[in-house]
Subunit: 294 residues, 2 copies
């Protein structure tokens, strides 16, 4: 069994991007620049945005953090998005969610120009991805593809079973794994809360992607011997033995499943660290105008 | 076994739309108006566009046919698309494909405002569909959903197997059948040319959607007793007994499969007639501004 090391791969990607920044500087090109908008002071959101900005600084990107108080109007926020849309120095723009109740989050994220939507949440990017066109792939699907690719896991003709149909993980993964590409070319089955006989489905998987958000949902009897298991879940469970009082666990019962697998991602340290790398990767694509060539 | 009658359902939809036009007229509202752009004089394209315009006239829609010679420049064509984008009287716009080689078809169709993209081909519509948001559904997937719905076929918790991963049928159908809606809530498997052990997959299907473009691909041994079979294929095969010298057949070997099914669509007369109804349906949605409310 090979443990897939997301921290290692994420670090590798950051190093590659750092080298690319150096090359751009040498050639006098455009250094990637990410802008993040944060509304209010939700501690989790603060931490996420701070880390994203820090990640940019570490690899030599420019970054801009725009903050608004909770009472910002939708109009003010949209005006700022439009301003950044028009700012040629800024390549990528993310708006940290959640937003206060008086602001429609879709209205805001859909206002971001698809060319700058490095989160890959805009319908235009999702649609381009579904049509097999160049697109910003959202951070979690991006991370999973990279892990499969960098561990040279064969995918063509394999049966990939995805558990979960969320629009940020399950649905895009099912599209990506079936497309004519590597990683991809899988027969893909998507399962969810309405699926009957789930174990009969998951036991068919050569590649099993669990993204259902239930701690330890995937047990050993649900997994075929030799399967590749990608665990997207990050669930808090009580753990009195820890100072914090909780532990983070995945959607897969790691102890019992790991020994049946050919490859498995741990939680934490598997898919999780890849997501921050995904944002940096997309921002580089944006700066190089690799996705929207017309 | 119930034979699904696409001609009947398509006629039903046209009648409903005709009534809606009457109601709109009574209330002095906006009559739906479809514009079609045709470049060159490919006989098949001529026939398609003529039929679409005729369909509009029959149910009381306005219609505009814009014709260009084959030597139209990309700039001229794009300028016309932009002009129609800005014309408030025109609700829906389609550009008949194929286009001459010197014009990039994606550049043209992506220039159509998503709000007027009643073909449902623009990435923004595909992405909205994938995200579970209101969207114009392309004509063939629309037709299949309508057939399932109007024949009251249960879908929740069923296993739907889709053969084919094209971006106009297979991929959108796999997304639509897995979403949290009716028709939908299926466990969905998407199979294609790289799928191994195809019959093992298709035999699991409660609902089998064949869209692979190979005459008679689905044989009786690939179908579970009692399955619902939707045949999207329209393939020409030689038939000396016919004046034309050919017959149109589906992706399903109808004779041997029909007797195992609970429901099946014939070819012709199943999914085919539904596609023209889909365009009319979307044009009504466009006129009523039902999809893009902001």
């Amino acid at each position: 069994m090979t443990l897939i090391d997301g921290n290692h791969i994420a670090q590798q990607i950051r190093e590659e991007l750092t080298e690319q920044v150096a090359t751009i500087k040498e050639k006098g090109g455009k250094i990637p620049h990410l802008a993040a908008i944060l509304v209010g002071n939700n501690p989790a959101s603060e931490a996420y945005v701070r880390n994203k900005v820090k990640d940019c600084e570490k690899i030599g990107y420019g970054s801009t953090l725009v903050r608004f108080d909770t009472d910002v109007t939708e109009e003010e926020l949209l005006a700022k998005v439009e301003e950044i849309n028009q700012n040629d120095d800024i390549d990528g723009l993310i708006v940290q969610l959640p937003l206060p109740d008086h602001i429609a989050p879709e209205k805001v994220t859909f206002t971001i120009r698809p060319e700058k939507d490095v989160d890959g949440f805009h319908p235009t990017n999702v649609g381009r991805m579904a049509k097999g066109l160049p697109a910003y792939i959202a951070a979690t699907p991006f991370g999973i593809l990279q892990l499969l690719e960098r561990y040279k896991i064969e995918t063509a003709g394999k049966h990939c079973v995805v558990i979960g149909r969320s629009d940020i993980v399950g649905t895009p993964m099912s599209i990506l794994m079936s497309r004519k590409a590597y990683p991809g070319n899988c027969t893909v089955t998507i399962c969810h809360s309405r699926t009957k006989n789930m174990p009969d489905m998951t036991r068919q998987a050569d590649i099993l992607i669990a993204a259902i958000g239930q701690a330890g949902f995937v047990t050993a009897d649900m997994v075929k011997e030799g399967a590749v298991v990608i665990d997207v879940g990050i669930n808090r469970v009580d753990d009195a033995s820890r100072k914090s009082g909780y532990a983070l666990v995945g959607d897969v019962n790691f102890e019992e499943v790991a020994e049946k697998c050919s490859f498995i991602t741990p939680v934490p340290g598997g898919v999780g660290p890849m997501t921050r790398a995904g944002l940096l990767y997309n921002t580089m694509l944006a700066a190089k105008k690799k996705i929207y060539e017309f």
